[in-house]
Symmetry: C2
Subunit: 152 residues, 2 copies
Amino acid sequence: MSKLRLSTFLPYRLSIASNAVSKAIAAAYTERFRLSIPEWRLIAILHEVEDATQQDLVRATLMDKVAVSRAAQMLEENRLVARRQDARDGRALRIRLSERGRALYRRIEPTALEYERRLLAAFGKEEIAQLSEMLGRLAEAAGRLADEDAAD
Amino acid sequence: MSKLRLSTFLPYRLSIASNAVSKAIAAAYTERFRLSIPEWRLIAILHEVEDATQQDLVRATLMDKVAVSRAAQMLEENRLVARRQDARDGRALRIRLSERGRALYRRIEPTALEYERRLLAAFGKEEIAQLSEMLGRLAEAAGRLADEDAAD
DNA sequence: GCGAATTGCTTTCATCTGTGACTATCTAGT
DNA sequence: ACTAGATAGTCACAGATGAAAGCAATTCGC
């Protein structure tokens, strides 16, 4: 009598769902906007905060600093953002959307929301809130778990 | 007035949660059992079905056939599985756990269940069922979404 | 039954990603 | 001031991943 079945194992189910969603979304972003997901994330945040150092972006997106650095370089190359030294801290780069970047964001936003809507078409408002909340708790629990084990 | 905030965007939240969980689990499996997640998945399935072709494993794990091929080779190298030609179909390889593989499985199972338990410690039974079910629906919706777009 | 198409699996190659080392700058303690 | 240590960002490498091509065996259509 086995207690573990892969198909019901939660980490597995989570990974499958996340992969499926990421794949669909990544395909849409790269095809339509020539943007990777890391790049899209930076744009989304920069649209919210207007101006941020890469370190801020690391915190906001939970991405690795190298990933942020690379995405920021790519965006700069494509003139979607401008980067300049922080006045106070010579190490930090302050990044902001260019007009071009802002324009691209305005094109993407409806697409992104539409994707989310289609993805969640079969979910009730209540369910969505619950799901979102549970994902947060899950991420938190996983973080704690990793920390505890690292302490071994 | 912006309608989209990254931190509440569901694909983003899903990706964050999945990454956090995968990372924690992968660390545990590699450290303790010298096993990658794809390898672990094959072992888990093979423990359930006893005997499968790689194609069966592709279907069961939703992994790429290349990933299955590589994981199977690695497991064979470590004598955790045996591979032999299918009697009827000379192309297919039938894979089964070796005694060594079965023994390893028995060591992993409690650990895996314990991880899942710790991950879900703050969740009620009802919640877990709901979460699991919603993840399934989400994966399905994402699959449909990708198919539709591919048809463009 | 013979050639074409399909299927199962492996190999190759191009890309992505994370890690560790490195530079430059900043901060704190003395 | 000077030094030690922390922090921002980049770079270079190595391992992982996936798509495409390849090979071998099988099945299908005529």
